[in-house]
Assembly symmetry: C2
Homo-oligomer: 176 residues x 2
Amino acid sequence: MLPRNFVAMSERTENGMKARVLLQQCLHARLQVKPPDAGSEAEWVEINRGMVIYICFFKGATEDIIPKMVNTLLNMKLCETESGKYTTVLQLPGSVLIVPQATLGGKPKGKGMQYHGNIGKDEGLKLYDSFVSHCQDELSACKNSDTVTEVKHGTYGNRQVLKLDTNGPYTHLMEF
Amino acid sequence: MLPRNFVAMSERTENGMKARVLLQQCLHARLQVKPPDAGSEAEWVEINRGMVIYICFFKGATEDIIPKMVNTLLNMKLCETESGKYTTVLQLPGSVLIVPQATLGGKPKGKGMQYHGNIGKDEGLKLYDSFVSHCQDELSACKNSDTVTEVKHGTYGNRQVLKLDTNGPYTHLMEF
């Protein structure tokens, strides 16, 4: 008989899901990237109008999925213009805040959550860095000199202390 | 041949998912429940420490799923105590902010999202009201006279203008 954890992992693999992403629209978002310590205050990054991307990778995710993921996410027409129509974050133009969020990979088990399907920390960090880098490249390529848009991101493995101000988050789930 | 929408709907039914819920932990959250108009300012509700529940119902969802959903959600150990352990929102004790979020039911189609699996507005409103009412009942039943905990909720069908302040949202997805 297979141990219970093995079954959970193999379900993930059969399921074939490599990453889960949550998208929220924001007017302003602020994320801690370094907690305070004895010698220094906390450090934060922030964006104004744009999109918050919460991301979690599953076991089996590999580098080759990143370019397509980023291209898909940045070209979804989920951002509201002044006139109430929807356009992409690139065309808005808006900024992007990327938040690593391993909890998104949880599966309920009793009164808690289990994370057996989540990718290991080292592999996850590599994919996360690549995801951030691809987002930066796509935003730079689309840059309009009249507007300031930026990609900001949280520190992988840290607590993601987040403050979010929205005009309606329009929360969307996407799985890859 | 079946029309395209019918196929999408029947996939949902086979899949059997009745509701999708997203949970985030908060220190403070503020939600608009009435937009401003010529005669009056916007109205807001707010909670302090507790849990934000974003909820979306799918076609086929019925009243009988609500008690189990609410019981499960309010008894998940996802809330961090002062000592860094995890407990339920009822035991924290914390407040609950319920945000109707139909966008959570979206399925990507090209560069946009389709919502063919979402429940109709009238049925959705009934389930939403029942969900809110069951949350209020569970929180009242657990009430500790030393603490002020509340259930607050958004207006179904409105734009959900939300401001969120977290010490780490610990975003979790749950499907019923």
